[in-house]
């Protein structure tokens, strides 16, 4: 089972169930697979379990039942080192979660220095390259509090990329941003997608989903209801009544 998917799919989930201690059934038999290099956007109303599902993919949330295989490694195998697995899966949060006591560059450098234990000169050079790439070369030595939301989120992307992950998870990356800053973050994400990064994005940005996604997953009430290419989702005939209702509510 463990090595069956190696070389094919980045993520395989089978019958993933999550029941919170208060009996809230957050995920119901979620089964899907995501190929290497694929960009998958998860949409759905709030409380549908889309963020919870995303967070199970690097075990920020544990699951009650089912299987999750990331890059050929079964996450709930006793031999699996979850920290090793997380090094390979970058995550970007809605509320940025930058480390406020460190400068922008130190934020990007922390994990490569302390986790990968790479030499400082190498990490420093890499951090500068990454920050240039997200357009923040001149903000290297300021603290996160002095940055705008959009800038903070771009630093958070650079920080996740510093571990050279094979897959990136985005948990509503633009939901906490002022409207005029959404574009700059989406642009960075688009360039990442163009480079072939495997990306799973929970978002309400339907334009982004339509333009960038290879596949769109629609979740509601903990279940994965629709899994289709964007053309079929946003096309004139959405073939699922609940998806239709959701889209008509937000568009």
């Amino acid at each position: 089972m463990v090595n069956t998917y190696k070389g094919h799919d980045m993520v395989v989930t089978a019958n993933v169930d999550k029941i919170y201690p208060n009996n809230c059934h957050a995920l119901k038999k979620v089964t899907t697979n995501i190929k290497r290099g694929e960009v998958v956007v998860i949409i759905g109303p709030s409380g549908s379990g889309k963020s919870t599902f995303l967070r199970t993919l690097n075990q920020l949330e544990t699951i009650t039942d089912g299987d999750i295989i990331v890059d050929g490694v079964n996450m709930y195998d006793d031999r699996t080192n979850i920290n090793k697995l997380r090094e390979n899966v970058g995550m970007v949060f809605q509320s940025f979660n930058l480390f406020p006591h460190l400068t922008v560059k130190e934020n990007v450098m922390l994990a490569p220095l302390k986790v990968s234990k790479l030499p400082k000169s190498e990490v420093d050079a890499e951090a500068q390259t990454l920050l240039k790439r997200v357009g923040l070369a001149e903000k290297m030595d300021v603290y996160p509090a002095q940055l705008s939301g959009g800038q903070q989120q771009r630093v958070a992307i650079a920080r996740a990329l510093a571990m050279k992950p094979d897959m990136m998870l985005f948990d509503e990356p633009t939901s906490a941003l002022d409207p005029e800053m959404v574009g700059e973050v989406l642009d960075v994400m688009k360039s990442l997608a163009a480079e072939g990064m495997t990306m799973i994005v929970v978002t309400h940005e339907m334009g982004f989903a339509n333009e960038v996604a290879d596949r769109v997953l629609f979740m509601e009430d903990g279940s994965l209801l629709v899994d289709d290419i964007p053309e079929n989702i946003f096309g004139t005939v959405a073939n699922h009544p609940r998806l239709q209702k959701f889209l008509s509510n937000i568009l």
Binding site: N83, E87, N97, P100, K114, V115
Partner: protein, 314 residues
């Protein structure tokens, strides 16, 4: 700028109030005919009394260029006293054990300053231990393991629920007897364990005040829990807890006065000794208070400096 004269008035009122208080204290002492003798406290701060040099055996004295040489009868090596200020024997005198040979002028720390240094020593050592104990207890308290969680909870509740004075007695008389502790060690153990419980609570609330997203972000980068604590959570928690930590550590210095009950000559015990020697009760206790204030305000200034240095970031 308009407010300037107004503020000045209040400053003047403040100074006047302080003077009025001082005058009230002075007149209160007048009504009980207290005779203020501040000069009596001075020898206990800077001790300028000459040191007596005493003969340690029988022998004879010879003086050569104001340098006194004692030749002992029992064959011990000669003793040469060259730096004495006053010689009290003459050339050729026969000396007996215990004779006063010479006096030497000296400037030494008075009893109060020695007590101050003892208090400082106890406080500094206890400070480090209490921070360490507090950190361990706080980390145990927030862990998911019921064993360490309950252990830490029990420790904090027991220590916070009993008086420090009683704890000092228990550590000194019980633990001190069982483990053969010196009184100084017993004092440090009691103070560290006591302050550690409060430090643990301060640090716990500090750690829990950091948004859970910080831990998630650190873990999502592949950091282990200890690494995330060390590099992400604790640096932020320490900064946030500095103000309550400062007052707890100031309390530690003040609480150290209680170790005087197990006969450690700290500043408070030195004060008691000086009172019985000088009879200048009021002056001595005011001096002792001022010396404590010196220690606590230095610490509080140091912590404020650290706070300012860390203030540059969120």
């Amino acid at each position: 700028m308009k407010e300037q004269p107004h503020r000045l008035k209040w400053h003047i009122l403040f100074v006047i109030t302080i003077f009025a208080l001082a005058a009230a204290v002075y007149s209160a002492s007048q009504t009980i005919n207290y005779n203020w003798q501040w000069h009596r406290v001075l020898p206990y701060i800077v001790d300028t009394s000459p040191v007596d040099i005493i003969a340690q055996g029988d022998g004879s004295a010879s003086i050569n260029n104001s340098s006194l040489t004692i030749t002992y009868d029992n064959g011990e090596p000669d003793r040469v006293i060259s730096n004495a200020d006053t010689l009290l024997v003459s050339d050729g005198d026969i000396i007996f054990e215990g004779d006063l040979l010479a006096r030497q002028e000296s400037v030494r720390m008075g009893v109060l300053i020695e007590g101050l240094l003892t208090t400082l020593e106890i406080s500094v050592i206890s400070l480090f231990f209490s921070l360490f104990i507090g950190l361990v207890a706080a980390l145990m308290r927030i862990s998911n393991n019921p064993f360490s969680k309950n252990l830490s909870l029990l420790y904090v509740e027991v220590i916070r629920g009993t008086p420090l004075l009683v704890q000092i007695f228990i550590v000194y008389f019980f633990l001190g007897t069982v483990f053969d502790l010196e009184r100084f060690t017993a004092g440090i153990v009691a103070l560290s364990v006591f302050t550690g419980a409060y430090v643990a609570e301060i640090l716990r609330s500090g750690i829990q005040s950091i948004s859970p997203g910080q831990m998630e972000a650190a873990r999502s980068l592949g950091m282990t829990y200890p690494k995330a604590m060390m590099y992400v959570i604790l640096p932020q928690a320490f900064k946030r807890t500095l103000p309550p930590m400062a007052s707890q550590l100031i309390n530690l210095i003040k609480d150290s006065s209680l170790v005087s009950v197990i006969s450690i000559t700290d500043l408070t015990k030195a004060g008691r000794e000086v009172v019985s020697g000088s009879f200048a009760t009021f002056e001595v206790w005011f001096t002792v208070a001022a010396l404590y204030l010196l220690l606590t305000s230095t610490l509080s200034w140091a912590i404020q400096r650290i706070e300012k240095r860390l203030a540059n970031n969120g």
